[in-house]
């Protein structure tokens, strides 16, 4: 986890945005106090609600850059994710995918292609960049935790995008019954060595399976009006001068 935070810090620096203007709501799996030292505001929310909490932060103060760090993204947060894409809510969703419920013993997640659970898993995992792209995200990418430069660049780019950006980061997640140091260094190298960079690839071809190489890269980069853009456009059209477009600090 901590290497990703270092990269996140680099990404913010590259983006030219002041850390104090960055707010990071997270859900339960991601609760690191390290984030605090980056100079951002950090909110450790509840399971699955980092995106709607972030939506409130953004709409409460549109000058903020809101970066939900999510782990329960595809379970409790699934519907919020889908709708954030539909609205093109201005959020950078960073999904740290460790393929597993690490903190509570190693149960399979909806992003798990293989698992340590007793009889392995038999459900089809979500392809997160593909789902994000289909729902209307303007930016999607996937990197492993060792693609540090690429990831930092992606974060910097996405922070300056207008709309929903989704970055999936593959990171090791051993369960309790393995020697953590061993598996962490092995897995992180395993992901890195078994990945292939395909920028611009259609994310639907970027399914993660145990048999094939993991496709990483920047998949989507497009423009669409954001929620606030559409809100202002529609209400200005209907209300004319009576409406002051929302935005800036507290409208």
């Amino acid at each position: 986890m901590n290497p990703i935070i270092t990269v996140f810090s680099k990404g913010i620096e590259k983006s030219g945005i002041k850390p104090s203007k960055v707010s990071v709501p997270s859900d339960i799996p991601f609760g690191s106090e390290v984030v605090n030292h980056l100079g951002v505001d950090f909110f450790h929310t509840i399971r699955g609600r980092a995106i709607p909490f972030g939506t409130g932060l953004k709409l409460g103060n549109p000058a903020l850059k809101v970066v939900p760090f999510v782990g329960d993204l595809m379970t409790l947060g699934g519907n919020h994710f889908v709708h954030a894409g539909r609205r093109n809510m201005e959020l950078l969703v960073i999904c740290v995918n460790n393929f597993v419920y690490r903190k509570i013993g190693g149960q399979p997640a909806p992003s798990t292609p293989v698992t340590f659970s007793p009889y392995s898993t038999f459900e089809e995992p979500f392809n997160i960049p593909h789902l994000g792209n289909s729902c209307g995200a303007v930016y999607t990418a996937r990197w492993t935790a060792l693609h540090t430069d690429e990831l930092a660049n992606s974060i910097a780019e996405a922070l300056n995008k207008q709309g929903l950006s989704v970055i999936e980061v593959l990171s090791p997640g051993p369960n309790y019954y393995t020697k953590i140091e061993d598996i962490e260094s092995n897995l992180i190298n395993f992901y890195y060595e078994n990945s292939v960079i395909k920028n611009g690839e259609d994310p639907k071809n970027a399914r993660i399976t145990p048999e094939e190489k993991i496709v990483v890269g920047k998949f989507t980069d497009k423009e669409r009006p954001t929620f606030i853009d559409s809100y202002n456009a529609q209400l200005s059209k209907v209300l004319g001068d009576k409406f002051t477009p929302y935005g800036g600090k507290n409208g």
Partner: protein
């Protein structure tokens, strides 16, 4: 502080309770409403969506109530007064985040226009059966404030009060109204802005590096800051210390939980608002709230016509509960009569606080309608005649119950 004239639509209106509450929220300075449409609260959300953009308030119709309440907590931390609007099923979905809001000491207002439950129940008709849920619905120990208005005018006035209390005590405040009050259309007078008292957010004004997000002032309430101002906030739903960092030991759990409940309990006298009538020489006191207090007025009148000395205690603030007031009255009267649209919620609180010194008679109602004032009058009459002290809550059998259960009323004819 006085309300901002831009936010207040001063005038005399003929509107329903829902719309009135929406106008009240905007007059209080509410600048963010996240909601999800649900009968019978929709008119309140619509009122805000219509008028909000004209006064710089943002609204969003979220994907569900889980999202709407989370967005409200988020917006509050972005520094704006915020609110959500819902009814029974949505209220149930919001529970986890209400506890989260209480834990983070986040000011926000929740308007619950209660309907008949459980489950989908009777969406278009009234109920008062969420009262205990508003108090105990989320897991863990916390205290919050709940208000129960009984007219469209009060929906305006007490929505403003709800915002003031939320900001004052940094906690969620529930407006526990119901379908009858929400859909009741009456005259509502919206005063000029300079007659509306509005509590501003209690922002911290000391040096930036010395700010501790959960260090309380003398009244146990910590001042707040907002995201984006360089305070490097670390805010978590885990038990935390004054810095906001999670601390998992037993001592901190005590310290934190105690303050979370004490900031409401020890400020009870300043929070609680009651409307008391003719209780001085009363032998029976009717304890009521919300729409039931409107119906009780007629029941009380009828009982007085029969020469019974009956007083009224209306709970405008339901939570925190006025324990001391009930205990004090119990010593001087024979009995309490508690009409409510449920099978006993507040009646049990009244019984708890009366310490066995007065009988407690519940006049129940199954929901989807209001009491017949005759039932309240009869219950008062019974209460005045009963000489024995009877333990527990006495469930009064209403006319409708007798009709349905005893007199062979055929439901399907």
């Amino acid at each position: 502080m006085k309300a901002n004239p831009k936010d207040v639509n001063t005038g005399v209106y003929y509107i329903d309770g829902d719309v009135s509450s929406g106008y009240g929220a905007l007059a209080a300075g509410c600048k963010f409403v996240g909601g999800y449409p649900i009968t019978p609260s929709t008119e309140a959300f619509e009122a805000v969506c219509r008028r909000g953009p004209l006064v710089g308030a943002m609204f969003i119709q979220m994907e569900d109530e889980l999202g709407s309440i989370a967005s409200v907590v988020g917006a509050s931390w972005a520094g704006v007064k915020s609110m959500t609007i819902t009814s029974g099923p949505g209220f149930s979905l919001m529970m986890e985040t209400i506890g989260f809001g209480a834990m983070l000491e986040t000011p926000f207002v929740l308007l619950n226009i209660q309907r008949g439950g459980p489950s989908t129940g009777v969406p278009t008709k009234t109920g008062q059966a969420d009262m205990m849920q508003s108090r105990w619905g989320s897991h863990g120990d916390y205290e919050l404030i709940a208000i129960s208005p009984d007219s469209p005018q009060e929906m305006f006035d007490y929505t403003i009060k709800a915002f003031n209390l939320a900001e004052r005590y940094r906690c969620p405040v529930m407006i526990m109204s119901d379908e009858c009050v929400g859909h009741m259309t009456e005259k509502v007078v919206i005063p000029p802005a300079d007659e509306i008292e509005v509590e501003p957010r209690r922002f911290y004004d000391g040096p930036i590096n010395e700010y501790l997000p959960f260090k309380p002032d003398e009244d146990l309430v910590p001042p707040m800051v907002k995201a984006g101002d360089g305070y490097k906030l670390y805010i978590t739903g885990l038990i935390h210390d004054e810095r906001g960092y999670s601390i998992k030991n037993e001592e901190y759990k005590f310290i934190y939980t105690k303050r979370l409940v004490d900031k409401i309990r020890l400020n009870k006298d300043k929070i609680i608002e009651l409307k008391e009538e003719e209780t001085d020489d009363a032998e029976v006191v009717v304890v009521s709230y919300g729409i039931s207090s409107r119906v009780a007025v007629r029941g009380i009148e009828k009982a007085r016509e029969k020469g019974i000395k009956v007083g009224s205690l209306r709970l405008v603030t339901v939570w925190p509960f006025p324990d001391e007031k009930i205990a004090e009255l119990a010593k001087t009267i024979k009995a309490f009569v508690v009409p409510e649209i449920n099978y006993g919620q507040i009646a049990f609180e009244v019984e708890r606080c009366s310490h066995g010194e007065a009988n407690v008679i519940l006049v129940p109602h199954g929901g989807a309608g209001v009491h017949n004032p005759d039932d309240i009058c009869d219950a008062i009459e019974y209460a005045a005649k009963e000489k024995k002290r009877i333990e527990g809550v006495i469930e009064y059998k209403t006319k409708l119950e007798k009709l349905v259960f005893e007199e062979g009323y055929k439901l399907h004819e």
